[in-house]
C-alpha cells in the first residue's frame, strides 16, 4: 500500500511517502511556517523521487489537530481533497498522538504539548503498550495549572515534548523528578511515524465531513452557544 502522510499542525512541516512499512522519501522543515507555500511542492518532489504518480497512492494519513488553526487546515484541506479527488482512503490521526509516536517504544507516560499561548496548551497524555497507544488523558485545550493537577494524579514519570519552552520549568517545579524533558529532536513530529501508524488504522467513512480537530470553539461561536444553548448548529451553511 502506497501511503502519503502529512503533518503541518504547528511550526514544523513533515511529509512522507511509504510503501507499506518501507519509507520511500520524507522531508521535515522546522525553520519556516510557510506551509501553504511549501506543502504541495514538497509532496510533488517526494512523489517524483519515489517514482510515483498521484494515481499510485492508496491512502493519505493526516495529522488532523489540535494545533495552529491555519496549520491544521492546510494539511486537512490537502488530505481530504486528495482523498476525494483520487477516490482513495483517508486516515486522520491526532496531531498530539503523532508527536507522542516518537516515543512509541517507551514504557513511560508521554505528554505531547502544543503552546496555546497565555499559559494555555493543547495537550493529552499517552502510554504505549507494544507500540500501541493508549490515550490516558484525552486530548484537550486547557491551562497549565489545570493540566498539572491532572498529571499529578498519575504519580508516574512523564516525558514532556513538543512546544514545552514556556511550560517546562513550571512543570518541573510542581512535579519535580517525575518530569523528563524529551530530546529536542524528538519534539518534532515525524510524518514517517504518522504514515506507519496510519497504515493500520481504519479510514474515515465520509471524507467530505472531515474537519480539523480544533478542540476549541472560536470565541464568537462559544459566546453564541452560551446564549443559545439549544440552537441547531448543523444548518448554518446553505447551498444556493
Amino acid at each position: 500500500m502506497k501511503v502519503l502522510s502529512l503533518d503541518t499542525s504547528n511550526q514544523p512541516l513533515s511529509v512522507a511517502i511509504l510503501d507499506d512499512n518501507r519509507l520511500l522519501a520524507t522531508t521535515t522543515i522546522t525553520t519556516h511556517k510557510k506551509h501553504a507555500e511549501f506543502l504541495m511542492p514538497i509532496i510533488e518532489d517526494l512523489m517524483k523521487k519515489s517514482k510515483l504518480k498521484p494515481q499510485d497512492l492508496d491512502r493519505v494519513v493526516v495529522a488532523i489537530g489540535p494545533g495552529s488553526y491555519t496549520g491544521i487546515r492546510i494539511a486537512t484541506t490537502v488530505a481530504k481533497t486528495l482523498a476525494m479527488t483520487l477516490n482513495i482512503e483517508l486516515v486522520t490521526v491526532s496531531s498530539l498522538l503523532n508527536l507522542a509516536l516518537n516515543f512509541k517504544d517507551s514504557q513511560l507516560l508521554i505528554n505531547p504539548i502544543f503552546d496555546g499561548r497565555n499559559e494555555n496548551m493543547f495537550t493529552g497524555l499517552y502510554k504505549f503498550h507494544n507500540g500501541q497507544p493508549e490515550n490516558v488523558i484525552p486530548d484537550q485545550h486547557t491551562d497549565l495549572s489545570e493540566w498539572l493537577n491532572q498529571l499529578k494524579a498519575t504519580n508516574e514519570k512523564i516525558i514532556i515534548l513538543g512546544e514545552i519552552d514556556s511550560f517546562a520549568q513550571k512543570m518541573k517545579e510542581k512535579l519535580g523528578q517525575h518530569i523528563i524533558l524529551a530530546d529536542p529532536l524528538k519534539s518534532i513530529p515525524s510524518a514517517s511515524e504518522l504514515g506507519i501508524y496510519g497504515l493500520h488504522q481504519k479510514p474515515v467513512k465520509d471524507v467530505d465531513s472531515v474537519v480539523p480537530r480544533y478542540l476549541r470553539l472560536t470565541k464568537a461561536e462559544a459566546d453564541w452557544r452560551k446564549l443559545h444553548p439549544k440552537e441547531d448548529t448543523s444548518n448554518y451553511v446553505e447551498k444556493l
Binding site: 494515481q55 467530505d208 480539523p212 464568537a220
Partner: protein, 339 residues
C-alpha cells in the same frame, strides 16, 4: 477552436463555490454554499468561523460541481482559483484544494484575482469587448478598473476608506437590518425620498477615488441626534438619502472616467452591483454615451461565485497565466494603480 473547460474555485470570503465553465462563457455547474446564516449571528463575517465553514464544505462542493456538469477530470484544461484579495484563512482553503486537484490530475493551475472574477462575470452573459471599464462594488471593494485589453487591468480609482457595501452594512445596523443589509436598504430606498442630503465625498475632486466613511458617519450622527431629541426619522427616507449619496458618487465618478477613457463597454460587477438603484442610475447615465454598452452582471452572479472565476480563468488560460504548486493566498492582492 477546441473547447476549453475549467474547474474553478472561489473561497475568498463567506461563500464556498466550485464551478465548471466551458469556453469562458458557459456555466455547466456553479455550486455556491453560503455561510450568510452563520455570520448573521454575529452581525458580520467572523474570519475564523468562515475558514471553518469552508473546510467543511469544500470537497462536497467539488463533488457536486463535477456531478452536475457531467464532466470528469480528463476533460479539463485547467483549474482556476481565487488567490486574493480576501480573507487569508478563507482563501487558503480554495487555494490548497485547487492546488491539490491540479496536481492530482496533472492540470495547469490558473491564479485568479477576485476582482477580475467579478468583472468577467459579465462574460457569462455576453462577450466583453475592449477597451472596457468596470465598476466593481462589493462589501470589500469599490474600484474603477480600466481594461485596454482583456488581460490588462488598471485601477484608475478606488475607495480610500470603506467599501460601498461595507457602508451599507454599517448603516444597516443602525436601521436594525442584519448583515448583509444592501438588498433591504435598496428596497427601503425605493419607498423613501432623499431629504437629508448627506455629503457626496470627493464627488467634485479631480480623481476617480471614492470615500464612504464620512457618509456613514453623517448618517449615524443624524440618527443619534434625532434619538437624543426624541424625534423619530423616517427609515425609508434615511435609506433613500444614504443610497442617493452612494449612487451619486459612484455614477459621477464612473461618468467622469468614461469621459477620460472612452470604452466599448462599461461593466458593473460585485455584490453591490445587484443594487437596483445603482443599476437604474447607470442605465440612465449611459444614455449620454451611445458608443458605450452597459454590461450589468446578472443579479444571481453578482455575489461571490466560482463561475465568474472560471470565466476569468478561461481568459488567463489563453494567455498562459499559470501558477506552480507554491501558489499562496495573497489577502491584499491588487491590480496596478494608474494615477
Amino acid at each position: 477552436m477546441k473547447d476549453s473547460l475549467i474547474l474553478s474555485f472561489e473561497t475568498s470570503c463567506d461563500e464556498t463555490s466550485v464551478a465548471v465553465i466551458k469556453n469562458g462563457n458557459q456555466i455547466l455547474s456553479n455550486i455556491v454554499a453560503t455561510q450568510i446564516k452563520s455570520h448573521q449571528r454575529f452581525g458580520g463575517v467572523v474570519p475564523e468561523v468562515a475558514s471553518r465553514h469552508h473546510i467543511e464544505q469544500i470537497t462536497g462542493c467539488i463533488r457536486d460541481a463535477l456531478n452536475e456538469s457531467g464532466m470528469s477530470y480528463p476533460d479539463f484544461d485547467g483549474v482556476a482559483v481565487t488567490y486574493g484579495p480576501g480573507l487569508v484563512g478563507s482563501l487558503l482553503i480554495g487555494v490548497n484544494a485547487a492546488k491539490t486537484v491540479a496536481w492530482a490530475h496533472n492540470l495547469p493551475l490558473i491564479p485568479v484575482n477576485h476582482i477580475a472574477g467579478h468583472i468577467y462575470g459579465a462574460n457569462l452573459v455576453k462577450q466583453i469587448e475592449f477597451p472596457a471599464m468596470a465598476l466593481v462594488v462589493s462589501g470589500g471593494h469599490t474600484e474603477l478598473v480600466y481594461m485596454p485589453k482583456e488581460d490588462d487591468f488598471e485601477i484608475i480609482g478606488e475607495t480610500r476608506d470603506d467599501a460601498a457595501g461595507e457602508a451599507y452594512d454599517k448603516i444597516g445596523r443602525v436601521l436594525g437590518i442584519n448583515y448583509p443589509a444592501g438588498k433591504q436598504v435598496d428596497q427601503m430606498a425605493h419607498l423613501g425620498k432623499d431629504v437629508f442630503h448627506f455629503p457626496r465625498a470627493m464627488d467634485k475632486e479631480d480623481n476617480f477615488d471614492f470615500s464612504f466613511s464620512g457618509l456613514k458617519s453623517a448618517f449615524i450622527n443624524t440618527v443619534h441626534h434625532a434619538d437624543q431629541i426624541n424625534t423619530s426619522l423616517d427609515k425609508n427616507d434615511l435609506a433613500a438619502s444614504f443610497q442617493a449619496a452612494v449612487v451619486d458618487v459612484l455614477s459621477d465618478k464612473t461618468v467622469k472616467a468614461l469621459k477620460e477613457f472612452p470604452v466599448k463597454q462599461l461593466i458593473l460587477g460585485g455584490g453591490v452591483a445587484a443594487n437596483l438603484g445603482l443599476r437604474d442610475r447607470l442605465k440612465k447615465d449611459l444614455t449620454d454615451f451611445p458608443e458605450t454598452e452597459l454590461m450589468l452582471v446578472p443579479i444571481h452572479l453578482c455575489g461571490d461565485n466560482a463561475a465568474m472565476i472560471g470565466a476569468a480563468g478561461a481568459m488567463l488560460l489563453r494567455h498562459h497565466v499559470f501558477a506552480d504548486a507554491s501558489l499562496n493566498a495573497d489577502p491584499s492582492l491588487e491590480f496596478e494603480y494608474i494615477s
